[in-house]
Symmetry: C2
Subunit: 467 residues, 2 copies
C-alpha cells in the first residue's frame, strides 16, 4: 500500500449541520469554523494531505468534553481530539469531517504530590509547561518528544524521546487517567498507587489508542528527582556499525545511560552549520548520564573506554550545564538543521525500532537504500532502545519524489518488522502506517477492531486511524 491511500470515512452531512448549530450556540467564541483554523487543526507536519474538520471546539473541562461527545454521538459525527498538532502520521486529520476537540484550554496542573513523585494534569498541559511548573520542586517529567507536545497527545500516541532508555515511554509513566468514552461516560482507570494488579490495565489500553477509544481528560504522571549531577558529551565513531556496537556494549554492561543518541554524518554536517557544533563530520553518539557526582563521572569514564574499544573517540564530556545544554539544543533542533540541507524541501520524519542486535544492520541497509535513491535523508536515533528516525527531504510538488519516498518508507517498515522490530517506535500508526500494522501483529488487529467496535460502536472517535 502507498502511505497516501488514506482510509475513506463517509461524511454525515445532516448530523454535521445539526452539531455545528448546537456547538455555535453553546460555545460561542470557543467554537470556530473558519477555514484557516480548521486547516490548522488537521494534519500539517508532513506531506500527508490536510483533511480539515468541520469545526473546532475548545472545551475547558471534562464535563464540556462529555457534552461535546454526547452531542456528536447522538448525531454520529466524528470527534477528533487535538493537542498541539505535532503528530507525524496524520493522527489529527478528519477524513470524514467532524469536530476537532482542541484541549489547549484544559491546561491546569491539578496537583503535584512531591512526596509521591506524581502529579495530575489536564491533557492540554505541554511537557515544557509541566517542567517549568515543577522547577522549584526538584522534580521533573522526563519524556521529551521533539516537539513541545501536550501530555494528552503524548499519552494518546504513546510518545517517548531521548530519555526513554532510562525513564521509559508514556507507557511506563502514566500511572492512571480519566477519559470520556464514545457514549459520553467517564472512566477513571486507577488511582495513585505505583503498582496495582486490580483488573484489566485500561490505562495502558488508552495510552497509544490515538483518540480512537476515548478522549483523555486528565493524567496521573510519574515524576522523577532532578539528578544531583549530570555528565554528557559527544563521541565520534568511524562508522555507524561501530557506533551501534558501542551502544550494545554500553547497554549490556548495565551502564545506566540516560540518553544515547546516534547522529549520522549527514545530520552532523547539518548540525555543525545550523547549531555551530565543532565536531568531526562522522557518525556520533550524544550521551548523557544522571546520578551522583562520582557516579556520573565513573559512567562517563566507562563509556569512554567502551567507545575506544570500538574505534570511537575522543569522547569529550562535561558536567557543565551550559555546555551540555548546547549539545542537546542541537540534538533537539536536528529537524530544523536537517531542513537546511535542502532549502525549500518538505521533510518527512519516519521512525522504526528494532532489537539493538539488528540496529547496525538495519541502519546500514537503510543508508544503502537512501544512497540508491539519491535523496538527502539524515538519520538520528534513540539507539539505546533500537529506535531511529529517517528525515527525508523531498520536494512536495514532485509526484515522483513522493512516490519514491512512499516506497522507501514501505521498505523501511517491512525491513524493521522483518528484523523482529516495529514499524513505529514512537510516532504511532495514524493514517501513515496503517498498511503495516497487520504485517507486524497479524490477527491482533482483529482483536483491536473488536475492542474498538465494542467501545465505540458507531465509530465516532477519530475514525479512519490505526486500522
Amino acid at each position: 500500500m502507498a502511505l497516501s491511500d488514506l482510509r475513506q470515512v463517509p461524511r454525515n452531512e445532516e448530523g454535521v449541520g445539526i452539531v455545528l448549530g448546537v456547538l455555535k450556540q453553546r460555545f460561542g467564541e470557543r467554537f470556530q469554523t473558519g477555514k484557516s483554523i480548521r486547516e490548522q487543526h488537521a494534519h500539517t507536519t508532513t506531506y500527508i494531505p490536510n483533511q480539515a474538520p468541520d469545526g473546532v471546539v475548545f472545551p475547558e473541562s471534562s464535563e464540556e468534553v462529555q457534552e461535546v461527545v454526547k452531542l456528536c454521538a447522538g448525531h454520529r459525527v466524528p470527534v477528533i481530539a487535538y493537542g498541539t498538532g505535532t503528530s507525524l502520521e496524520g493522527h489529527v486529520n478528519a477524513p470524514g469531517g467532524g469536530i476537532s476537540l482542541d484541549t489547549s484550554r484544559m491546561n491546569r496542573i491539578l496537583a503535584v504530590h512531591a512526596e509521591d513523585l506524581d502529579c495530575i494534569v489536564e491533557p492540554g498541559v505541554t511537557r515544557e509547561a509541566l517542567n517549568a511548573h515543577l522547577r522549584d520542586t526538584g522534580l521533573f517529567f522526563p519524556i521529551d518528544p521533539g516537539a513541545n507536545a501536550s501530555l494528552g497527545g503524548m499519552a494518546a500516541t504513546r510518545a517517548s524521546g531521548t530519555n526513554a532508555v532510562r525513564y521509559g515511554t508514556m507507557r511506563e509513566n502514566v500511572l492512571a487517567l480519566t477519559a470520556v468514552l464514545a457514549d459520553g461516560s467517564v472512566i477513571s482507570t486507577g488511582r495513585r498507587a505505583k503498582k496495582s494488579s486490580a483488573g484489566y490495565d485500561l490505562t495502558r489500553l488508552m495510552v497509544g489508542s490515538e483518540g480512537t477509544l476515548g478522549i483523555i481528560t486528565s493524567l496521573t504522571l510519574k515524576l522523577f528527582g532532578i539528578p544531583q549531577a549530570i555528565s554528557g558529551g559527544v563521541c565520534p565513531f568511524p562508522s555507524i556499525e561501530k557506533a551501534c556496537e558501542a551502544v550494545i556494549a554500553t547497554i549490556q554492561m548495565g551502564i545506566p545511560v540516560a540518553r544515547i543518541e546516534l547522529v549520522n554524518e549527514v545530520q552532523m554536517r547539518a548540525m555543525k552549520i545550523y547549531s555551530k557544533l565543532d565536531y568531526p563530520e562522522s557518525p556520533c553518539l550524544f550521551v548523557e548520564f544522571h546520578g551522583s557526582d562520582s557516579g556520573v563521572a565513573e559512567q562517563a569514564e566507562m563509556f569512554g573506554e567502551i567507545a575506544a574499544d570500538y574505534g570511537g573517540g575522543p569522547f569529550q564530556w562535561t558536567k557543565v550545564a551550559e555546555e551540555r545544554a548546547k549539545l542537546w539544543k542541537a540534538r533537539h533542533d536536528a529537524y530544523w538543521s536537517a531542513l537546511t540541507l535542502r532549502p525549500g524541501a518538505k521533510s518527512l520524519s519516519t521512525d522504526t525500532c528494532v532489537p539493538i542486535s539488528r540496529l547496525a544492520e538495519c541502519i546500514a541497509e537503510t543508508q544503502a537504500d537512501i544512497d540508491a535513491m539519491g535523496l538527502i535523508a539524515p538519520i538520528v536515533g534513540h539507539v539505546g532502545d533500537g529506535n531511529f528516525h529517517v528525515v527525508l527531504l523531498i520536494d512536495p510538488a514532485s509526484p515522483s519524489e513522493i512516490e519514491q519516498m512512499e516506497k522507501f518508507v514501505a521498505r523501511l517498515n517491512m525491513r524493521a518488522i522483518g528484523m523482529d522490530g516495529t514499524c513505529t517506535g514512537e510516532h504511532g500508526i495514524g493514517q501513515g502506517k496503517m498498511g503495516f500494522l497487520e504485517h507486524e501483529v497479524g490477527h491482533s488487529v482483529e482483536v483491536m477492531r473488536a475492542i474498538k467496535a465494542t467501545l465505540d460502536p458507531n465509530g465516532i472517535l477519530n475514525p479512519g486511524k490505526i486500522f
Copy 2:
C-alpha cells in the same frame, strides 16, 4: 461483601461429560480426573474454599492449548489456566467446574537473545528455572514474587516482588506475548522491539487479565545484566512511621535502591527464631543496592545517613554475597517464619498498595486494627512502591475468626482505596477481592466487562473471577 461470597458459575453437565470423554481419548495419561489431582489444581493457599475442576490436562504446545480451548468452547465448558497454583485470591478455582489447563509441561526456554537483553519462554517456565538457565550469560530476570511461580502465571496476575521498585513489575517486563483466545485463535501481541507505538497495547491488556481473556502460550521478557556489585543490609527503626519516612526520603533523593523492604516487629520476632537473624526486635528495613563497586558503597552510605536522620540504625551492610543471601532468604521465608508464630494456624496473606506519602498512616491504622482484633498478623512490605502485606494467622476451623478476618480485609482494602491506593498491589483480584474492584475503579469495571464479553462471549475462560 464478604470475601467468601464467591460468584456462582452455572455448571454445564452435558458439555463437561462430552469434553471429559474427548480429552481422555486424545491426551491419555496427560489428562487426569482423580479427586486428589483435581483438588491440587484448585485453590489451596488460603482459607478460600477449594473448588475443583472436572479434569486436568497437560498440553505441551500452543497447538494443544488451541485444541483444548476449541473443544471446550464448542461445548461451553470453562478452561482455567494453571501455572504453579501459588496465587492467593482463588484465581485457579473452578466455581462452575471445567478443565484446568496445567502449563507445567510447556516449560521450554525458546530463545535467549543476550545482546538484546530479552528471552522467549513458554508459560510453564518458573522464575527460578529461568534464572538457573541464564546463569552463564551474566543476565537475570528480576521479578521475584514469594513463590517460585511460573512466568505465565506471573504475567497473568501482573505479579511483582521485592525488586519492583528498581526493575518494575510484570507490566513493565513483558515485551510481548502469544495467547490462545476463547475462540481458539492465536494472537501475537508484538515483536522484540524495546518500545512500539503500533496500535493498542494488547500485551498490557493480557498481563493481569488472570486468564479471563486468553491463555498465554509464550512470553518475550526483558532481561537485565547481573549487577557488577551488590550491597545490602538491615536497618532497625524506632517505629514503623520513622521507617516509612526514611523510605520516602530515600526514594525522593533518587537513590536507585534495588530493594527496600519493611518488616515489622512481630515479623522480626518470627524471623529471628526461624531464620536465626541477629537483629533487634523492632521494625527494620531490608535494603539492597545494585551498581558499580563504588556506586553501591556510596548508595549504602547515603542510605545510612538518611536512616540516621530518622532515628534508624545502626545500618549494618555488606557486599559479601553469602551474608546478603542469608538476609534475603530470611525475607523470602517470611511467610514460613510467620506461620511459626501460631502453630497450626492457616495464614491469609493479603496485599494493598498506597502512595508512599500515606504508607506510614495506612500501616499505623492497620496495626491498630490488628491490635484491636487480638489476632497475630505480621506486616511485611515492598515499601519503596507503597505496597505491603498483612499475614493473618487464623484458625481455619473457627467461623468467628474467619468472619473477623474477612471484615478486617474489607476495612484494609477500603482504607487503601480511600488513601488513593489499590486493593491489590500484586496479588490480583481473583475471587477474593472481587467486591472491592468497583470501589476502586468505578465505571471502568463496565468497560472491563464489555471487553470480556467481546473476546469471550460465552465466558469460558476462567469464569467467576475479577468481576
